[in-house]
């Protein structure tokens, strides 16, 4: 039986799960941030130099890092190799630390942590074009115009985010300004019916967040005084006039003010050099490291992308020889770091694209789009490691066991994060929506 839950349009203060861990006193937070601002010119670790703040940030419940492999990676060159067959491509398969389980030879590091990963080899979805595929695999379902289903990051930020945190709860790190269909998608409505406040803060590469650094000519004290005055006047106006516009303006200002206080989090150069080298030099790897830092410091959902480099209709193997090892290292470092920090249990890491790639090679030495049988991987945050779910036939044409679609996948993700997958959105006069439609069930096998 499904449970009818709260409507979507309730007040922001009602939207968190209710845990006191999600509520942080703004003054305390800003005091901490300001104190840290002085101390953190060399390292943003100073941002949470006030122990109480650091503790709150770290205890704040489940989080998620989505390594968004836009363009769609090949399952043959990652999680479901078919070496020696007509469709297998040029790369071999290697043993992993799970007896009997092999993955692509391009992933030697992940082979050593397969006991921490859950791999789904039986994804079968509908859309075969990028835009529609991205839509379904980031929102969980097909569009029902004119209603826009919120993207996964917006849902998680709304459900699990710390509303009073100055650190953005949903961050998109993507340095590539254009990605064809992904560009169109990025220009669209991310948060859907949740409202723009749950959309992502975008950063990465040239997408540094503008105007979040305090001007040199304004001292820290002067800045604080100005903020106090602004706050007093705008609150008075908001109260006197009962103005929603003023409230909205204040919310926006607070968001920017919060961003100013955590500007160092967005500066790649302030990440420890040793860590930067360990993750690898490429933009995707660097931003994956940045994602870890953001999660450590209070973000709830970070999506890491790099345009849509996986769409290898041309040069499939020439591109995958570079992209897969980078993913291999990033996933290994991320999972290992989160485990070392005691955060893996509460941080879900997902590595997936919008579909897979064809078993056959096209004339341009590429693989084309293939939603009928593809793979992805997850770790941590409520997911059981050491499980390979589902299977494809020997040439990788069809799913033959444990079929999973986008709804099952999203039910699994929500369940793992402690979010009710089947919540009903009861909007007067509008069709009924569910967080996951059709009562689709999660993959129990990979849930803790």
């Amino acid at each position: 039986m499904k449970t009818r839950h709260f409507p979507l349009n309730r007040k922001p203060s009602d939207r968190s799960c209710g845990s006191t861990e999600h509520t942080l006193h703004r003054r305390l937070f800003l005091q901490g941030a300001m104190a840290a601002g002085v101390a953190s010119t060399g390292s943003f670790s100073g941002l949470f130099s006030v122990p109480a703040l650091a503790d709150v940030a770290k205890k704040s419940g489940k989080k998620c890092i989505l390594l968004w492999l836009c363009g769609a990676p090949s399952q043959f060159e990652t999680w479901d190799p078919k070496p020696g067959t007509e469709t297998g491509g040029p790369f071999q398969a290697i043993e992993t630390n799970l007896p009997g389980v092999k993955i692509s030879s391009l992933m030697p590091q992940c082979a050593t942590i397969m006991d921490k990963l859950a791999v789904i080899r039986s994804m079968k979805t509908e859309p075969g074009e990028h835009f529609q595929g991205i839509d379904v695999l980031t929102r969980g379902d097909q569009p029902r115009p004119p209603f826009t289903r919120p993207i996964l990051g917006s849902v998680i930020a709304q459900q699990l985010g710390q509303l009073d945190s100055p650190v953005p709860q949903f961050v998109l790190l993507d340095p590539c300004p254009e990605g064809n269909e992904f560009k169109q998608f990025k220009a669209g409505n991310w948060a859907g019916w949740l409202g723009a406040e749950y959309g992502p803060i975008r950063a990465g590469g040239n997408y540094s967040i503008p105007n979040i650094n305090r001007l040199d000519e304004i001292s820290q004290v002067d800045h604080a005084d100005r903020e106090a005055l602004r706050k007093f006047l705008s609150s008075k106006f908001e109260n006197d006039q009962r103005s929603e516009a003023a409230a909205s303006h204040n919310a926006a200002f607070n968001r920017v003010n919060g961003l100013m206080s955590c500007a160092p989090l967005f500066d790649l150069k302030q990440l420890p050099e040793k860590d930067r080298q360990r993750y690898g030099g490429g933009a995707f790897a660097q931003h994956a490291l940045q994602a870890r830092h953001l999660i450590e410091n209070g973000s709830t959902f970070v999506m890491v992308a790099n345009g849509m480099p996986w769409d290898n209709h041309v040069f499939q193997h020439e591109m995958h020889q570079m992209l897969v090892p980078e993913l291999d290292n990033v996933l290994y470092q991320l999972v290992s770091d989160l485990e070392d920090r005691g955060m893996l249990q509460d941080t879900l890491v997902i590595a997936m694209g919008e579909f897979g790639r064809t078993p056959w090679l096209n004339e341009a030495r590429g693989r084309d789009h293939y939603p009928k049988a593809w793979s992805l991987a997850m770790a941590g945050g409520g997911i059981r490691g050491g499980v390979v779910h589902g299977a494809t036939d020997p040439l990788g044409f069809e799913v033959v066991e444990g079929q999973v679609d986008n709804r099952n996948l999203f039910a699994t993700i929500f369940e793992a994060l402690g979010v009710d997958p089947h919540q009903e959105y009861d909007l007067p006069g509008l069709p009924t929506f569910y967080r996951v439609e059709e009562d689709a069930q999660p993959i129990r096998e990979i849930l803790v």
Binding site: E178, M322, E363
Partner: protein
Amino acid sequence: MEKIELKRTKKFDLPSGVLAVAVSKDATQAVVGCLHGVYQLNLETGEHERLYQHDSYVSSVAWLGEQKIVTAGYDGEVCWFDLAKNSRIQRQKVHEFWSWDMTLSPDQTRLASVTGQYIAGGYKYEPQAEKEPSIRILSAETGELLWSLTHVPPVQAVAISPDSKFVAAGNLMGEVRIYDLDDGTLVAQWTTPDFTSWGIIKSHCYLGGIFSMEFAPDGEHLLLAGMGPMRDPMAGNGKQLWQRWGWRDKQPAMIDQTHAGEAGEGLMETIAVRSDTSHFLMGGRLRGGEWNAALFDHESGQRVASLKTGYRMTEAVYLGDGKRVLLAGLKSQPKKSKQGKFGDFGRVEIYSF
């Protein structure tokens, strides 16, 4: 400029896509390197037989005398095979990564194979420095390692000069290095950025590079083939591009390149020079335009003939007296298999001038 007509005289289908072909001295037999094995092909009848398989795609083939062949593959191995005995003579791991390309010196004493994996080194995906020597020079007879030479990976094309004294190798970034095969010294080095794409859209990384190279018969010039830069490196729509470089001078200089208005779009994967230097042939994939194989006058660089083969061309070999040319490549792999078997998608053709 007199136009040349190319007329197809033979056409053979092979079970697997063709990446490399070498033809016997009498032009009656070919050994064919495919995605899924090494084949021997009778060029008169079209009869073919699979001889053996590497552990991955077969990237290069060469005749060693009249009865032996040498092949290299994406498994990083070089294999010697005796056709008369139908048996493998030797199998040798030469690289940790692929052998992208392999060639024998004209005097048949030395073998050069090039390798290298593209691993992201910097924020813009500049290639990392090599983890293993990118160029290996072996004794063609015994497989003994003669030289390990450095380059920046991935090194995708290799050629040996007609006098068998120099080896040239070109990479993803358009860098060419030429080494003296007698003492292993670097004698020329330059970079042409015209073959390399950095993705302005879709993906910020490098793609393309030099895919084929050949010395002119006089040894003075080096011909390079590939594709011009693209905004979207995954589009495959760069200009069909060759360049001719004089490499003997202290500062190597480009002498000529694909003339304006004579090229369409697509990656060029093979370039072959006729021994009398009257013309050379470049071929590859047709992405946009009118041809995917064309003859160019060696002296003027003008296009004198062109073809649309209908498949991606990976190899061109002048036969015998140079009055015929063998072209080979692959079509799309069939989308359906019958009981695990795909239809033929490799192609070998012979054209006469």
